[in-house]
Symmetry: C2
Subunit: 305 residues, 2 copies
């Protein structure tokens, strides 16, 4: 089983409006809701690829109940979320039908009490017992210590479970120092971590800070990997037009899936790039187009960097 951790889960709501004009009133023509937060998105892609996957993190309040009900309703990730008294946050994506652009409104996360954090740590350790890999994904809600990911990385390493960390800012800085097996920063996160805007230099620097391997996302230009086995640049056949929401989460799922299938690095990177591009191409934010994925897989270029 692959375990994904989403401490700041969300109920992702998508609204379609004809044209978003600030300071006016809009009729929403269509409402869609689904479980969200980076680790939940990663888990959904892993399940679609045929992996057994369990999600943990927090869920609470009426929005948390809706999220858990939706998770239970479809075959896919197993729900091992820890209940909290505050309400899971909502995110609202307002899609403008005229331009196709999206405006995002993200609620603040719920406050996590020390008791809830303690309950999560117990659950996490217990779940690691059955995990073949773990992904720690996204931001920390209020109340969770800033060193949380460093703690979770160390626990995974003690349990002998490969650990991927995908976060930003101070939680990433501290988490990297705890020596995760893999981090997957984007260009901004990497620059914030290392102070360098030069991708190869920054990626190498991130390894020196503690990450065993670093796969940097270069947006439409694919992935740059610096690992003990070598350095590669993997790129899609052409930049994809579409909605990049969830493309990074699909890349994480591809990397984990390739790790579990014991693929060599170039094939793992090809899988991650193809999944990411197929997610951009999909009409539904965060979903991937399976036919596009299979076609792209053979067309990703992977070269030594």
């Amino acid at each position: 089983m692959i375990l994904t951790v989403t401490l700041n889960t969300a109920l992702d709501i998508t609204y379609r409006v004809r044209s978003l004009r600030p300071h006016t009133s809009h009729r929403v023509s269509e409402v869609a809701e689904r479980p969200g937060g980076k680790g939940v998105n990663v888990a959904r892609v892993l399940a679609a690829l045929g992996h057994e996957v369990t999600v943990t993190g927090f869920a609470g309040g009426p929005t948390g109940a809706v999220l858990r009900k939706a998770l239970a309703g479809v075959p896919g990730p197993v729900d091992a979320l820890v209940p909290i008294s505050a309400a899971t946050r909502r995110t609202i994506a307002v899609v403008d039908e005229l331009t196709g652009d999206t405006t995002q409104l993200n609620e603040p996360g719920p406050h996590i009490t020390p008791g809830e954090w303690g309950a999560f740590l117990d659950r996490y350790e217990e779940l690691l017992g059955g995990a073949s890999a773990v992904a720690l994904c996204g931001s920390l809600p209020p109340g969770v210590p800033v060193g949380a990911y460093a703690n979770l990385v160390r626990t995974a390493r003690s349990a002998g479970v490969p650990v991927l960390l995908d976060t930003s800012g101070e939680p990433l800085r501290r988490g990297v120092a705890a020596r995760p097996d893999l981090i997957k920063p984007n260009a901004d996160e990497l620059a914030e971590l290392t102070g360098s805007h030069e991708p190869l230099r920054a990626t190498q620097d991130a390894r020196r800070r503690g990450a065993h391997a670093v796969v940097a996302s270069l947006g439409a230009n694919g992935l740059l990997a610096v690992t003990p086995e070598g350095r590669w640049h993997a790129a899609p056949p052409a930049p994809e037009l579409g909605n990049p929401t969830g493309a990074g989460d699909s890349a994480v799922a591809g990397l984990l899936s390739g790790l579990l299938d014991q693929l060599p690095w170039p094939d793992r990177l090809a899988r991650a790039v193809a999944l990411s591009a197929a997610t951009v191409r999909s009409p539904t934010a965060g979903d991937f187009d399976l036919a596009a994925y299979e076609k792209l897989l053979t067309r990703v270029s992977v070269a030594a960097a």
Copy 2:
């Protein structure tokens, strides 16, 4: 007891953001939720004025449960909402902290089944038995027949309960023909009903179409009343700066409150205008400032029109 009917109740959510810029991502700094829909707002103001008030209409799904829990949590309106299987809609008001302006996103209403509509009609008739006045407020959700308000007006008249209708479009046109005691259209609703943009002419025409009395809202210029007892124009001492959300609902509450207290028309109109202005002045959308209300009450001018 005063009965207010809100067929299209809503969970009203307010987000504060620093500055709303389409096609970018925003952190919401503050989230507020409260029960909404015109009749619910009217009931809240009536309760604050010391009246016994009951709300009916529909509520369902997780949003309906949140709405009902919030109604139960405060002293005020009695909850006589009829359960439905679809979910109560949300409205989102995004307040821009830089400009103070609000952008509104309104979800479509839930679909009401014929059985649910029938259950409502039974409940409505039963509630009318204990009502000294009834207000029918707002839009109709999908599934409710367009002649719904005409039906509800006739039932109230048969029961001898004074009935106020506050809606728009075809439901208003049909409702007026059923001869309600009072309607409270704004300038746009009145023009749509009568084809005239001249307030006095349009208000008189609306009476000819069947309304016993018509109180037209002139926005910042107050109210114009055409009744069997006379015609009046009631105006606040000065136009109010602030958020007009809920000002019309406060006017409806003032008119009902004055009716129940058997005030002469000029005093009813003064109460409605003062409540409306005190709502615009309040920092919280839809709430009214009690001290401002009491001060304004003595300063509203009422003249024969």
